[in-house]
């Protein structure tokens, strides 16, 4: 079984880190995993995405041929990626920023206003982690507890001070999923 997820947004939204958290968790839960980042030359504002492949056997190709899940943080990501999604796949959309909707009828849409949720709670910079919490709360691809339990290792020494807020953000996402979707 091979499940591919593409997370995509604008450089600076933190989508690479969300994907990396999921990849670490998949590894700790004993799966084969690959994580392939892709980003523009810009420090902020470029097209940014990552592909996380999780499998119970060796992963042949880390590139997203027909991802089962899409996590989209901006309009451009939706325009760029919706045609790639596997039929029957799920598309998670940050409705605070994404005004468009997929034109395909064969994919399931999950709408979460993560930027609004972040702004009204712990700050807009944590929208990515709220999305991650909401995403795994619904898909159960990895356990939230695995990410939370290993946050020290994932963040490393330099960013250790962001641990608590990241965990709080994941919990906000989890809570939103359990109530709304």
């Amino acid at each position: 079984m091979l499940i591919k997820t593409v997370m995509s947004g604008i450089g600076g939204q933190g989508i690479l880190f969300s994907g990396l958290c999921m990849a670490w968790a998949a590894m700790y839960e004993g799966h084969f995993v690959t994580y392939l980042p892709s980003y523009g030359a810009e420090m902020r504002g470029g097209v940014t995405s990552c592909t996380i492949a999780i499998s119970d056997e060796e992963i042949a190709s880390p590139i997203p041929s027909a991802p089962d899940y899409l996590v989209l943080m901006d309009n451009l990501s939706l325009a760029r990626l919706q045609s790639q999604c596997a039929s029957g796949g799920e598309v998670f959309i940050n409705t605070s920023i994404v005004s468009d909707r997929p034109i395909r009828g064969d994919i399931e849409l999950v709408e979460i206003p993560v930027t609004d949720l972040a702004e009204s709670s712990i700050g807009v910079r944590y929208a990515n982690m709220i999305m991650l919490g909401a995403f795994i709360g619904r898909t159960h691809l990895v356990k939230a507890s695995t990410i939370i339990g290993n946050m020290d290792k994932i963040l490393g020494k330099e960013k250790a001070r962001f641990k608590d807020k990241n965990i709080e953000a994941i919990n906000i996402g989890l809570e939103y999923t359990s109530k709304e979707t």
Partner: protein
């Protein structure tokens, strides 16, 4: 599980080099391998080594030469156009029999090409690359763990045979992040470095040079190198076999292409096609003998490369006409999917009527 970490290819390679005792890195920036010098810049400061961004690729490879001559484990890295610039230095390293590691994270070419993954530098890597009658061992890992392990091993090979060694990856191998166990270095018996320039106090002076004007002396130097290359041909070849026991068609692919091919083999097997994969891990010396052994049983080969076809020459040389061999390639930075390769395998299967 707990000792595994997620590592990017370039970081894993750099960390393995540090663990292997590499204490000098010289390089000049080029995408898609810039994360490697970035990692080195930080880590060399921590371990008391030297990180230096040269004024050019040519300067960097000659700094490697200088460090190697003084007995330090040294390396450089670049991507295709940068590696072309380093060829003179690599030729000199080979001539002077100095150990060094050169990493090529291949990108599209010729010329400046593009920064997407590509396998167009196979000829350059396996045929020596620079001028003169020499070879360099070339390793082509296909996972981050293997990249890590091979980097450590490559430094030992360089010291044992006193030769520059190349690791040939591509943009994908550099960028992909995978679980990796950062093993500590296994100490092995290495020949004493009795050639290095460390001050001629209480010993006769030593000279490391590549200019040999006496014809017979030069000839003997060439034969000496040849004997060394023959020794490597006997000892170094490595390859991986996957689902080959009952295979009627063998895909030959290396590096990223081999990963994709492995996925294609699994897919083809689900369709009932008896397909296997042979993945050369060393590109020079090429696993010629392994292919010759297999060709006694299997009569159909398909070479898949992310180029217009270079390794296929080595496969054809190995086969010597004893089996049929076709080629499929995607140059230009295209990374095909396993499904695409499965389709090619299916087409080949039907065209050659392998079952009939």
């Amino acid at each position: 599980m707990k000792d595994k970490v997620l590592m990017k290819g370039t970081d894993a390679l750099a960390e393995a080099a540090i663990q292997a005792g590499c204490r000098c890195y010289f390089g000049y920036p080029i995408t898609p391998q810039n994360e490697l010098p970035e990692y080195m810049a930080r880590r060399m400061a921590e371990v008391g080594g030297v990180f230096l961004q040269g004024e050019s690729e040519i300067a960097s490879i000659n700094m490697v030469l200088g460090a190697a001559a003084s007995g330090v484990r040294a390396m450089t890295s670049s991507s295709s156009p940068g590696i072309s610039l380093k060829q003179e230095g690599i030729s000199f390293l080979a001539a002077m029999e100095l150990p060094a590691l050169i990493v090529n994270i291949m990108r599209g070419g010729p010329g400046l090409g593009k920064i997407a993954p590509n396998q167009g530098d196979y000829y350059q890597a396996t045929r020596g690359g620079g001028h003169g009658d020499y070879r360099t061992p070339v390793f082509a890992p296909a996972s981050i763990q293997e990249l890590y392990d091979i980097t450590m091993y490559a430094f030992d090979v360089a010291d044992i045979y006193r030769t520059p060694v190349m690791i040939l990856g591509d943009g994908m191998m550099g960028q992909i992040v995978e679980p990796t166990i950062c093993r500590k270095r296994q100490k092995i018996d290495l020949p004493p470095k009795d050639y290095i320039l460390d001050g001629a106090r209480k010993r006769p002076s030593r000279i490391i040079r590549s200019l040999i004007l006496d014809t017979l002396e030069m000839e003997e130097h060439n034969w000496k190198l040849k004997r060394k290359y023959d020794l490597m041909r006997g000892k170094l070849p490595q390859h991986e076999e996957f689902m080959m026991a009952d295979a009627k068609l063998i895909i030959v692919a290396y590096g990223t292409a081999a990963r994709i091919a492995k996925g294609a083999v699994k897919r083809a097997r689900r369709e009932g096609l008896a397909v296997g994969l042979l993945r050369p891990i060393t590109l020079w010396p090429f696993p010629t003998q392994a292919i010759q052994e297999i060709a006694k049983k299997v009569k159909h080969f398909l070479v898949f490369e992310m180029s217009t076809g270079q390794m296929i020459d080595d496969v054809l040389l190995a086969l010597g006409g004893k089996a049929e061999c076709e080629f499929y390639g995607r140059p230009g930075g295209v990374v095909p999917t396993p499904m695409e390769i499965t389709r090619i395998v299916g087409r080949y299967w039907v065209q050659k009527e392998i079952l009939g």
